[in-house]
Symmetry: C2
């Protein structure tokens, strides 16, 4: 063995989960799991290694590989640590297309890697809940996914004052731009999407200035009316929305489960990714110190095209770092000392009692569902050893 | 998006865990977790990415990198997917040496990667339970770890007829070779270790032939007597064993918890790895079709030396693939259809009932702790839809 000594810090942008930190992460994952299982979802998992070319094909050479952890294995295969789960989900669904009973309600909590500069809320390694419904076309399933996202928050005890779920539809916006605002030029539409996407990140004046590069004053007025849900701009938007059956269902149903969750039909919800094809949605943290989009999702019916197959799909991805920040900010953590049982301390007076420990004491504790912590420091005083066991979190202490 | 279509098979030597397969893996992990938590262990986790040079320093340039998934990140850091958890465990313990309250009873179930030819029981990606006690010198803690390993098996309903736990001590064997068999030459000792390690893989004649390269006939006789636990060879071995306090404790205590677990003090248990410094042990599958060592562990007091620190440690690593093969061979799986609750099928007659579904039906099911599966195929006959829900595993079906 070499005599070099190595640094003990974890690789940049990754985390060591000591038992206390893992307890928090496990709490999040357990609540996510509980919610999704309750809503009829089943869990899957895969290897973290995928074909690197998948991501490059999906996002283009430059964008696809810039943040990618890709390398060649010792057999010269071009592989990558997945930066997201969706292409993998598409792969395993395409792989058993004939056997799987659609629709699938599937979830997974994979870790993903992206090479970027670590910052608050964004690390190189993160875990991401992926929940998807595959094989059901636009319709009642849109209502279902919005319901499920609300349930995720409620499981942690979050309230209507702390978050909301915003949704929009790419098709509605597109038709409204063409038919109401009379914007059909592709570049002008792209500009409107980009400006709406960042609407609340800049001032109204800045938004107007940006739009004026391609739009008339009237068109700009229509858009600002739409964003503030005013006048005919908004009423026409609603009229178009009702011609999309899934939106009509959402607008008719959502009040039945919005007692504890605020849902907001909002034209500024765009979602960057090109692949969304219908409903898009975003969960929003209302924290006045740090109001922000937490995560999003939508319908993406081109999911399986990388594998030459086709199936409609709708889904959501939720990052663990963002979620943890949300729980921190609103103090939604449970009291872990209350929910995990305290071990029983065992203060052994001598090794001669080991047979009794294993034949009587431990079997009894195990039968009672109790956990334990054995102290072997025979050379220390009983008082000191008692104190040590207490400091280690033991409740009851058995001297033997 | 490119028009290339990609292969849907997973990367060589890795597995896709569809919900049915994940249910099996989760069953294993849950039972491992339950056992270890009951025995006072707490869970930790880390990133799969580690400093590649750690493994090369530990095992030498060639051995260290031959099976290693190592590469340079976009910032030219030499990183690797961990091939095992021990160096990482050492790193995170060394990193908080002052704060952590020793002894630590820690476990983790990381995935690990090794570049090798996939074969039965051995894949490129595997999960490995690591359970370690750090900060307690040889003594009663040796008894504790042997107890815990037995508990792991019992949690799955395995019986004494299906497995045994064999143990040995490097110090006892070394002293016996020097003092009883009068073998002190380093090369001769190394030969004996190698032959004992593979003792049951070849015939007695072959073992004798191998040993005769360095040993006298008397010495070979002493070794074959030792292996078959006969005569003074074995009684001297026991006498030496009793001078090691931890072995004396094991031999005095083990009968108290061996009603359901067979423990076997066995001089052929060597364990290849150079770093074991005292007790070594191995779990053995008694399956007559495929008797084999399943996994092992031992005391390795040099654990932290890579990081310039020092702490005594004893631990075990258990692979998921081996464990799954064990459960398969002995048919120890539970009936999953019995342990997971059947969803309630919801046969919705029209989207007009969505408000009722979300305001009444689902809240009631959730309050009862039931899961559900909604069918939206409004264009199919009620009978067909009923059949579909049954085929998807629904018990009760609600028509609405």
């Amino acid at each position: 063995m070499s005599t070099t000594t190595f640094s003990t810090t974890p690789y940049k942008g990754t985390r060591d989960f000591y038992p206390q930190e893992l307890q928090k992460r496990s709490y999040i994952f357990d609540c996510w799991r509980k919610t999704l299982i309750r809503c009829g979802f089943v869990e899957y998992d895969t290897s973290i290694i995928e074909n690197a070319d998948l991501y490059i094909a999906k996002s283009g050479e430059e964008l696809g590989s810039k943040q990618l952890y890709n390398f060649h294995d010792k057999g010269d295969r071009h592989i990558a640590l997945r930066p997201e789960m969706t292409p993998t989900l598409a792969r395993i669904v395409a792989n058993k297309m004939g056997e799987l009973k659609m629709p699938l309600r599937w979830f997974s909590i994979p870790n993903c890697f992206r090479y970027e500069r670590p910052q608050k809320g964004r690390l190189r390694e993160f875990w991401q809940l992926n929940a998807d419904i595959i094989g059901a076309s636009a319709g009642a399933v849109e209502v279902e996914i919005l319901y499920v996202i609300g349930q995720l928050f409620l499981e942690f005890g979050a309230t209507k004052q702390q978050f909301k779920i915003m949704f929009n539809h790419r098709g509605v916006l597109d038709r409204w731009l063409s038919e109401v605002a009379q914007i059909s030029d592709v570049e002008a539409k792209a500009l409107v999407y980009a400006v709406l996407d960042d609407w609340y990140k800049v001032s109204l004046d800045q938004n107007v200035a940006l739009l004026s590069a391609k739009l008339s004053e009237l068109q700009i007025q229509q858009i600002t009316d739409l964003v503030s849900k005013q006048g005919t701009s908004w009423s026409e938007y609603l009229t178009i929305a009702k011609t999309f059956p899934e939106l009509d269902l959402i607008l008719n149903t959502i009040s039945t489960f919005s007692e504890h969750v605020e849902y907001d039909f909002n034209p500024t919800i765009i979602r960057g990714l090109a692949y969304y094809t219908g409903l898009v949605f975003e969960a929003f943290d209302k924290n006045p110190q740090n109001p922000r989009a937490m995560f999003g999702g939508g319908r993406y019916d081109d999911l399986l095209s990388l594998f030459g197959k086709s199936a409609p799909a709708i889904g959501v991805g939720v990052g663990d770092v963002t979620w943890e920040n949300f729980l921190d900010a609103w103090d939604l953590w449970p009291d872990f000392s209350q929910i995990s049982s305290q071990p029983v301390g065992i203060l052994l007076s001598s090794t001669e009692n080991l047979p009794k420990l294993y034949s009587e004491v431990i079997p009894k504790l195990q039968a009672e569902g109790k956990t334990y912590d054995i102290n072997y420091e025979f050379d220390r005083s009983e008082n000191k050893r008692w104190e040590t066991l207490k400091k280690r979190g033991c409740g009851e202490i058995i001297k033997m």
